[in-house]
């Protein structure tokens, strides 16, 4: 599991450029699924099992894409200016390294370096070591992601892009462990979540599920200085009551709580002020899909060093497998 997570988090896959992540996932799961297809936007849509009399068609979605940057222009001296792909906060950019699809690395700095002030995104540029526009290897439109090495910290793991390769890992491990389910489970590895839940929107339309579950990270607020301490490390997977895109369907959440209790797993009920996940898009598909989210508390989301707790991840897998294995009432 550790090796797979390292591979997943290390893969390059900003929103709209997910093919390397998709290839890696497909290679890992192709012997464990009954069929798959890749749709026009690049979503990997798989099927595991068939729908029995007491079963449902369930879409389980984990997004493959990660936040990143895109070059807007390169100046005469070869400095590449950037805009955001997804929710990049200028605060998290300063002095960080980024890598482009061809392996070119660069560091982020800003024009306006007034002490005590956070420069706006349009002030940032990437220095790739080029001496002129002509010699600069990156061009307008090239996407980049954070450099953030995978670190095994014992009980915890740190890397770039835990958001949402941890969801991909949970989906992969669950689909491998899942035996004897009454449900037709459509594991979807979606694209372009970070730029507006776009892959989930189109894949849910084609899957036409009866229940939607997204797997994602959520904000762990057990670090110093945060007033709300409702989600913490080591307290089990989180089940979504509300975020900016979704009110978790009450009967579905009850079924998830029951599954956690059956499996003897602790869980945390999650209320998030903003943000959204694939479940928000799934729930609005066609004539509506009851939906919720199993999430993993993650510290430092959308930085190059996202951190998760190993026991939370293992329990999220257990919870998903238990939920998918039984009839849902």
């Amino acid at each position: 599991m550790k090796e797979l997570l390292e591979k997943l988090t290390s893969a390059f896959g900003p929103s709209g450029y997910e093919s390397r992540v998709r290839d890696l996932i497909l290679e890992t799961i192709k012997n464990d699924i009954d069929e798959y297809r890749i749709d026009a936007l690049g979503n990997l849509i798989t099927r595991k099992g068939t729908r029995k009399a007491n079963g449902k068609r369930i879409m389980v979605s984990a997004h493959m894409d990660e936040i990143g940057l895109m070059v807007t222009h390169v100046d005469e001296q070869g400095f590449a200016y950037v805009t955001n792909l997804g929710g990049v906060r200028p605060l998290n950019l300063m002095s960080n390294r980024v890598v482009f699809a061809d392996g070119t690395e660069g560091m982020l700095c800003a024009r306006d370096m007034e002490p005590g002030k956070i420069p706006a995104l349009d002030q940032y540029f990437v220095d790739t070591g080029a001496s002129s526009r002509k010699s600069c290897k990156v061009k307008i439109g090239d996407p980049a992601v954070f450099v953030g090495r995978f670190v095994d910290m014992g009980d915890r793991r740190m890397s770039k892009t835990m958001d949402d390769r941890i969801g991909c890992l949970i989906a992969i491990e669950a689909l491998k462990a899942l035996k004897d389910s009454p449900h037709e489970v459509r594991f979807v590895f979606s694209v372009q979540e970070e730029v507006g839940l776009r892959g989930a929107k189109t894949s849910a339309y084609s899957v036409d599920p009866e229940i939607g579950i997204a797997l994602d990270v959520t904000l762990c607020n057990d670090t110093p200085g945060l007033t709300e301490r409702n989600l913490k490390f080591g307290a089990g997977p989180c089940i979504k009551a509300k975020d900016g895109s979704l009110v978790g369907t009450p009967w579905l959440n009850n079924a998830l709580y029951d599954a956690a209790e059956r499996a003897g797993i602790p869980y945390q009920v999650e209320v998030l002020r903003g943000a959204g996940t694939d479940a928000g898009a799934i729930s609005l598909t066609r004539s509506g899909v009851p939906s919720s989210v199993i999430s993993v508390a993650c510290r430092y989301v959308h930085t190059p060093s996202e951190m998760v707790d190993v026991s939370d991840v293992k329990q999220a897998i257990q919870l998903l497998v238990e939920f998918l294995s039984k009839e849902i009432k």
Binding site: K242, L246, V247, N253, V269, E270, V271, V289
Partner: protein
């Protein structure tokens, strides 16, 4: 005027029930009871929309046209985020103004049943930041249930939904106050319409929808057209009535009748149709200009499927999203009457007349 007590009775029922966005079941059951006496069929969608079908007459089955009346039934409310000692912290569902919350009684809906609570404001010396003369933000407000910390931990938990707990009040001059008149007033107006349709011949099918989640994601309004496949959609909601501090140009007095929507979400010919009916029958009306997207189900209905001619009809309301909203029951009656007269006029030529010309 003998229908006044009936509207009052319906509003009293509806505004005494919780039904926070995503948790509409209590009010949905009541709406089913009220509407089922006035329609041919009741059904419920996967997300919880309640549909009441009143069949039209004299049209072959395959040529039946359908009009959808969408009224959202969900309410703004709150949700528990964490317990801190003997107090509850919470977050909003829908949009709330934290200034009006302290002092309100609420109900926390727990697994073991309803728990009464009072929203309180910690004294400024106890909050981390100094707010000066600014109001204390939502994140620093608390709910006191009277339980001690240990008991509270056993009963209340994060994710429990919280609703306003005050009873509705019938006020002077045909007015009515209570929580969630946004948008139960419109549910009542649709009941008035269905009541009138009992004695009116109409060719089109009417589907009244009580939609879910309008205050959060408009999920009910977005998905209803896929179930119903209507030819025309009407969103019925509330709008800002003239009140303390309101701007005159985009508000209208209580009792001024239906506010007919006009703007990018509204089909101009539908506006003309409704306006014509108001003028013909001397129903008072105002025009509500919505240069941008309306904050109603109307904006989702218009772009659902391959596009649906849509209009938004609104009931003027004061003190929106507070625990004590205020409407005139006369407006509820006028909106119901207007909707019924609109249905009466729908025929086989209506769709051909709906050409978008501006």
């Amino acid at each position: 005027m003998n229908d006044i007590p009936k509207i009052k009775e319906i509003l009293t029922d509806l505004c005494s029930l919780p039904g926070v966005s995503g948790h509409e079941t209590p009010v949905a059951e009541e709406i089913k009871t009220i509407w089922s006496k006035l329609c041919d069929e009741i059904s419920v969608s996967r997300l919880g929309n309640v549909y009441a079908l009143k069949k039209g007459i004299n049209a072959p089955e395959d040529a039946h046209r359908k009009v959808l009346f969408a009224t959202h039934m969900d309410a703004v409310g709150m949700i528990v985020t964490e317990l801190t000692g003997e107090f509850v912290r919470f977050e909003e569902i829908g949009g709330l103004d934290p200034r009006i919350l302290p002092g309100q009684f609420v109900t926390i809906h727990t697994k073991t049943g309803p728990v009464k609570g009072l929203i309180v404001m910690p004294t400024k010396s106890l909050t981390k930041e100094t707010y000066g003369s600014n109001p204390i933000p939502l994140k620093d407000l608390l709910i006191d249930t009277g339980y001690e910390a240990e008991d509270l931990q056993k009963i209340v938990r994060p994710g429990d939904v919280i609703s306003y707990a005050n009873d509705p009040v019938s006020m002077q001059d045909d007015t009515f106050s209570g929580h969630t008149l946004d948008n139960r007033a419109s549910v009542a107006a649709v009941a008035v319409c269905l009541q009138e349709l009992q004695t009116i011949q109409h060719k089109w099918d009417v589907i009244a929808a009580a939609t879910v989640l309008e205050e959060e994601s408009m999920a009910g309004g977005k998905t209803a057209p896929v179930d119903i496949r209507p030819d025309i959609a009407v969103a019925i909601d509330v709008t800002f009535a003239t009140g303390p501090g309101s701007k005159e140009w985009n508000t209208r007095p209580l009792g001024s009748g239906p506010a007919l929507g006009f703007g990018m979400n509204i089909h101009p010919k539908l506006y003309e149709l409704f306006k014509g009916i108001c003028e013909e029958l001397r129903i008072p009306y105002t025009t509500e200009f919505s240069p941008r997207m309306t904050g109603t189900d109307g904006r989702e209905l218009q772009v659902a499927l391959n596009g649906i001619p849509t209009i938004v009809i609104s009931i003027p309301l004061r003190y929106m999203h507070t625990a004590n909203e205020l409407i005139s029951m006369k407006d509820v009656r006028d909106v119901g009457h207007l909707l019924a007269e609109f249905v009466h006029r729908l025929d086989e030529n209506t769709m051909d007349s709906l050409v978008w010309e501006d």
